[in-house]
């Protein structure tokens, strides 16, 4: 395994551990967030943004990666899919209590129902990609080569 593959694996594992232990991958904490009964997830996401925003600003000013290459941040395109896709995802997040990272975290934790959620996610993403040419016009999406945005 090369060094960068190990880096992504370890970074993903640390990310997954934090999601698991913080409540971000917990059905009850997600419902508590959407019911405005639990501050935990608002605190997590808010703190992450408060840390990331000035960090991004500094990194962009510095303009280089750790290895000295020019920093490159590809911006996501704007389109109506941001709204329609966002709402659909929000419904799915509520139903499962998981967003994409936590789907994988819950699988790792041994929660068996998360395997069904993961199967649904993959079928949903596969259907989206397969149908993309037919979704461009109704949702005002960018052409296929561009896509909706990576992330």
């Amino acid at each position: 395994m090369d060094r960068m593959t190990a880096f992504y694996l370890v970074l993903g594992a640390v990310f997954g551990f934090v999601l698991s232990r913080s409540g971000a991958a917990d059905y009850d904490f997600i419902q508590g967030m959407f019911l405005f009964e639990e501050f935990q997830l608002y605190g997590i996401i808010g703190t992450a943004v408060v840390v990331t925003a000035p960090g991004l600003w500094l990194l962009k000013r510095y303009g280089r990666t750790a290895s000295g290459r020019p920093l490159k941040i590809e911006l996501k395109p704007g389109h109506r899919g941001n709204i329609y896709g966002g709402v659909l995802f929000g419904v799915g997040w509520s139903i499962t209590g998981m967003c994409p990272g936590p789907v994988l975290v819950n699988v790792g934790e041994g929660k068996l129902y998360a395997l069904a959620a993961l199967a649904g996610v993959l079928v949903g993403a596969g259907a989206f990609g397969t149908l993309y040419p037919r979704l461009i016009r109704p949702f005002g999406l960018p052409r296929l080569e561009v896509g909706t945005g990576e992330g």
């Binding site: 990310f15 996401i45 659909l88 509520s94 041994g110 929660k111």
Partner: protein, 168 residues
């Protein structure tokens, strides 16, 4: 509130949030990548689905980093469970869903698969999820990310309130 996984209290939100922010910045500083999980599902699809959408350079060219990141998330969940009281074990526990809705394993499988479909289709239609839009995009003050984040929070708030304050 305690975690379904272990019955323990969660990490403090400030610690968890700061850690996620640090992970986002390290990924950019070291690897020149913007954090995002949902595109990784397309990378998995690209292994088996041949549609032109999955043959794009932005997918084929990112598989070598997105798949290890996704696998890392699974490993992180496993390690968390293994080092929790009680250790790693398979479970169907679903907290308040068990208490208020009360469906068995079969019902949960259908429920989770349906929700998963919406997550997979919705995040890709929106061009990102909680990480790519909600954390990276919002932190970078990108309008499409702010619009997406408001949309998925609205979708979740309405759905959970319908389920737990109206239906059950």
């Amino acid at each position: 509130m305690r975690l379904i996984l272990s019955g323990e209290e969660p990490l403090h939100w400030a610690i968890a949030g700061a850690a996620i922010g640090a992970i986002t910045l390290i990924l950019l500083l070291v690897a020149n990548r913007r954090l995002g999980v949902s595109t990784g599902f397309e990378n998995i699809c690209s292994l088996v689905v041949n549609a032109p959408y999955f043959r794009r350079e932005s997918i084929l060219g990112s598989t070598s980093w997105r798949l290890p990141l996704l696998l890392g998330l699974v490993i992180g969940g496993f390690v968390s469970a293994a080092f929790s009281p009680g250790g790693w074990e398979t479970t169907w526990d679903l907290g308040v869903f068990d208490a208020d809705v009360g469906w068995g394993a079969g019902g949960k499988v259908v429920w989770m698969f349906a929700g998963g479909l919406l997550i997979g289709f919705g995040t890709r239609l929106a061009g990102g999820c909680t990480s790519g839009h909600g954390i990276f995009g919002v932190s970078n003050f990108e309008v499409p990310s702010i619009v997406s984040t408001v949309s998925f929070m609205a979708g979740g708030i309405v759905t959970t309130n319908l389920i737990y304050r109206v239906i059950v």
